[in-house]
């Protein structure tokens, strides 16, 4: 099948790939760029495991095509840490036992990265509402809610 060249940036690095027009952004990241940290849990936009930041906004990479990334700045879980060190957000997830099997974790980290940037002083109910676009089957969500709460109102970037 015919492929189309696409150029965009991933985690600050410019990339060029040539993909079938039907190929999802998730498959493009995983198969063509080897960025397998982004997970596929449902491939129909329900679970959020495949969330990535596209120009700063959390999007379902299973519901976008690779060709739609043309010119965009994408961030994936691999781009969150710095030189193998955990960020404050990642440390908060560890400290609050916000993960077990870890399959949903990259998607949550991406969603929460955007949420913490935009939010002021949400209630627990609002935090839960904000997290409800991502499914976790292991933790019961409490650790994730606590991790997010622990980072609110802090000046430094998560």
């Amino acid at each position: 099948m015919k492929t189309i060249p696409v150029a965009f940036a991933v985690n600050g690095e410019p990339v060029e790939v040539s993909v079938e027009p039907r190929k999802t952004l998730a498959d493009t990241l995983r198969e063509d760029l080897g960025l397998v940290g982004t997970k596929l849990g449902c491939e129909h936009g329900a679970c959020g495991a495949c969330n990535v930041l596209l120009d700063g906004h959390a999007v379902r990479s299973c519901l976008l095509l690779g060709v739609q990334a043309e010119g965009a700045a994408i961030e994936t879980v691999e781009g969150l840490g710095r030189d193998g060190e955990l960020t404050r957000l990642q440390r908060a997830f560890r400290d609050h036992h916000a993960l077990q099997c870890g399959f949903c974790t990259p998607g949550f980290l991406i969603s929460v990265t955007e949420y913490l940037r935009d939010v002021d002083a949400p209630s627990e109910e609002e935090i839960r509402e904000a997290l409800s676009g991502n499914l976790c089957r292991c933790t019961g969500y409490q650790g994730i809610v606590e991790a997010v709460s622990s980072l609110l109102g802090e000046e430094e970037a998560p």
Partner: protein, 788 residues
């Protein structure tokens, strides 16, 4: 550090690590995106598989035409049942009267459920394989399906497995105590039929496997999202007629298991057969629709329960009938029988009822096979009993907490042999109930509930005390009606540099074994947890083991590790004593330093002691082996956790919506290795119980077609559906296990649906209990409340 202070057979040292909230050693690699699940693994020249699945629940296969698919772009092969080199899968349960229902990896003559694989396409990419799979023409002659228990048992019903003569796989009866007399003496007999909903464990990572085959040696490596690598290896060797020692099975990072990843599935057999045939790596990754259709389904039963009760609420006896909707095959490694049998075995629960009889019937239907999911059988039985207990309390005008307390096994009755032969070793039944009521402010809630009623608010409470069989060793298998040898093995090795490597047969699907096991061995050997490397999930690197299921990891894996670490410690101390000219009894190890107690200046680094043990013959006694390693086996006695849940809900009788206000858990799993991880297990399982009570349901239509095949139809709870869950701990160490450890992985799902459903019914107020259908969706809530 104190040693041997905990009761039990064998010791668990409790120093810096055991019992503390050590954050997980496995977290950084997950958080940084370094974890590798099977879909993340690729090999050179790897091919991809897509399955052609039956669209009919029951049909004869007249013919399969794959010519168009074979000719499609990128396709390397199409395989059907007729040309697959594999024997059918059979369940491996050791049970004297359980018939087999051999399951071909690819159906060749007939299909028994919609979703059963009939052909596999191998192609250069997953896309090409899926495209070509649509071009495989299967000519079916549809047959009448049976879509539920009633239609399967009806006179003249089509029979799925001719050799059974009917759709009944097995029936079993058991009676204990004088049931006739109990029912004759009773002032009231209560009964209810409970139909528990069909569930999917739905781990976020679907199934999948990658198989590499080396033609020169015949060596096969199987990476699979499995809970049981050694059983997978064994089963594949058997159905593929492949030498067992030429198969290596690896569970890489696994994204949740919860039970269904115990079994060996047809797809694993097909992918392995294809890799062997083609001499190339072959991978298959299940998609979500396939997963909801083919990952084993769970927990659907119809339970008729009668309880004979004295006028004061004391239960005198129980009678029950269990019918499980088992699907098309009695699945390998976990059979159609376990769901009703485990429900039946635990029906008396933590109540003192010795007169009990039951009959169970495992029924075959044209549906996805049923198999394990966290709390197999126990969830359904517990839910049936606890719903009836609330009905009894209402009818007798008793407080539901008091009714439960009145019937509970008292502390002075432990150890206690249940009517079904389960030997409860220890527990805190009354204390857990009292503590849970206290933590939930039960009295205060009742006042709030009464005030709310005056204001038009509908609040309710559900109380669910439980006992949880754990640590599936041989003894508890026997007590549960499944006699099989269920042990596990662990190796502890201190290397010449003084670092520790442990290898266990119980692998992880996210539970945090690398942390809890490192804690346990860290205290046993006096080293830091990050000096302990944990190896598991690889048949080449870890000792043989049965894998992870039935809350066996901490008890069996932990117990075997404690025993092995004890051996290595003894040897280390003997060597160090030689070097320090002291007695081993006077030595202690802390922070990787061996010191004479009270004289810290007389100390050696663990690396010095280990190095000498390996390389200095002078410290060795005659005939002693230099290796600082021990492999120990452990097959624990039966041990039982317990606890109590209290759910408080508010129901909106305009919308039927249920809000969980508070959820209180008190759990007692004996010696706690890591309270943070225990709490995570409880909360995660309770969240699954929220789904079971209110949201999740695999719905079939009358034609036996599954109509809930996406996460938009099969609803997992989100962060907004799950409340904050408080967890309090009571520690009643087991007197019969190493270190007093009990398992605890399943209680959350065993007992929370009952708490939540009872809370909703309490909030609704007067209703017809015969009309309670699970899950309690908004529409059903409104019907029960008489609003629609």
């Amino acid at each position: 550090m104190t040693r041997g202070t905990l009761p039990g057979i064998g010791e668990v040292a409790r120093g810096k690590w055991v019992g503390t909230r050590v954050t997980r050693l496995e977290d950084p690699r997950v958080l940084l995106g370094d974890a590798r699940y099977v879909a993340d693994l690729t090999l050179p020249r790897m091919l991809h598989v897509a399955f052609v699945r039956s669209i009919h629940p029951h049909a004869r296969i007249v013919g399969i035409d794959a010519s168009e698919a074979v000719a499609a772009d990128g396709v390397r092969a199409v395989v059907t049942g007729a040309d697959l080199d594999a024997h059918p899968l059979e369940d491996t349960a050791v049970h004297p009267t359980l018939p087999k229902t051999p399951q071909p990896a690819l159906a060749s003559d007939r299909v028994l459920w919609a979703g059963e694989a009939v052909a596999a396409v191998v192609a250069a990419s997953a896309h090409a394989a899926e495209d070509a799979a649509e071009r495989v023409r299967v000519d079916y002659e549809p047959l009448q399906p049976v879509h539920d228990i009633d239609s399967a048992l009806a006179q003249g019903a089509p029979v799925l497995h001719g050799h059974l003569g009917s759709n009944v796989l097995i029936t079993d009866r058991r009676s204990s105590g004088d049931v006739e007399e109990a029912f004759a003496e009773a002032s009231r007999i209560f009964e209810r039929r409970t139909h528990t909903n069909r569930l999917s464990a739905a781990p976020l990572e679907t199934r999948g496997c990658l198989v590499d085959f080396e033609r020169s040696s015949g060596h096969m490596t199987v990476w699979s999202s499995t809970q049981t690598p050694d059983l997978l290896r064994w089963t594949l060797a058997s159905v593929l007629d492949h030498p067992h020692h030429r198969i290596r099975a690896v569970a890489p990072d696994v994204g949740g298991g919860f039970g269904p990843k115990m079994s060996t599935y047809p797809e694993e057999v097909v992918v392995a057969a294809l890799a062997r045939r083609l001499g190339r790596p072959v991978r298959w990754i299940e998609d979500r629709r396939e997963s909801l259709l083919t990952l084993n389904h769970s927990k659907e039963q119809v339970i008729d329960l009668e309880i004979a009760v004295r006028s004061d609420g004391r239960m005198l006896g129980m009678r029950a009938r269990y019918f499980s909707d088992s699907g098309a095959y009695s699945f390998n490694s976990a059979t159609a029988l376990i769901e009703p049998q485990l429900a039946a075995g635990l029906m008396p629960g933590l109540y003192d009822v010795q007169a009990y009889e039951y009959e169970l019937t495992a029924v075959m239907t044209n549906k996805t096979p049923i198999g394990p999911y966290r709390g197999v059988g126990w969830t359904s039985g517990h839910t049936a009993r606890e719903l009836l207990l609330d009905e009894i309390a209402r009818e007798l005008d008793l407080d539901p907490a008091e009714l439960r307390r009145l019937n509970m096994i008292r502390a002075d009755m432990l150890p206690y042999r249940s009517a079904t032969g389960l030997e409860y070793d220890s527990g805190s039944y009354e204390e857990s109930l009292a503590r849970a009521l206290d933590e939930a402010d039960y009295e205060g809630f009742r006042r709030e509930q009464a005030r709310g009623r005056d204001e038009g608010r509908h609040l309710g409470v559900g109380i669910s005390p439980y006992v949880e069989p754990t640590a599936f060793g041989t003894e508890i298998g026997e007590q549960s009606g499944y006699p099989y040898s269920s042990h596990d093995n662990a190796t502890v090795t201190v290397d010449p540099a003084g670092k520790v490597r442990i290898a266990v047969g119980v692998c992880s699907q996210g539970q945090g074994h690398s942390t809890t096991f490192a804690q346990l061995v860290g205290d046993a050997l006096g080293v830091r947890v990050d000096d302990v490397e944990v190896v598991a999930g690889d048949t080449e690197r870890a000792p043989f083991g049965l894998g992870t299921y039935a809350s066996r990891g901490a008890v069996i894996g932990g117990g075997a590790l404690a025993l092995a670490a004890g051996d290595v410690r003894t040897k280390l101390l003997r060597v160090a004593a030689e070097m320090l000219e002291a007695s081993p009894a006077d030595l202690e190890i802390e922070d990787s330093r061996v010191a004479v107690r009270g004289s810290p200046e007389a100390a050696l680094g663990l690396e010095d002691v280990a190095g000498a043990a390996y390389l200095d013959p002078a410290v060795r006694i005659d005939g002693e082996e230099p290796l600082l390693s021990s492999t120990r086996f452990y097959d624990p006695r039966a041990t039982f956790s317990n606890g109590c849940f209290v759910a408080i809900v508010e129901v909106d009788l305009d919308t039927g919506g249920v809000t969980l206000r508070r959820f209180t858990a008190v759990e007692d799993c004996g010696t706690v290795l890591n309270p943070m991880i225990v709490e995570g297990q409880v909360r995660g399982a309770v969240a699954q119980g929220v789904g079971a009570a209110l949201l999740e349901h695999l719905v079939y239509d009358d034609e036996a077609q599954l109509i809930t095949t996406t996460f938009s139809d099969y609803l997992l709870p989100t962060a907004s559906d799950v409340p904050s869950i408080s967890v309090a701990h009571i520690e009643t160490p087991s007197p019969v296990t190493v270190g007093g450890i009990k398992g605890m992985g399943e209680s959350g799902l065993l007992a929370s649906p009952a708490a939540i459903v009872n809370a909703v019914l309490d909030a609704i107020g007067p209703h017809d209990p015969a009309k309670v259908e699970l899950p309690l969706t908004p529409e059903r809530v409104l019907r029960l409340a008489g609003r629609i």
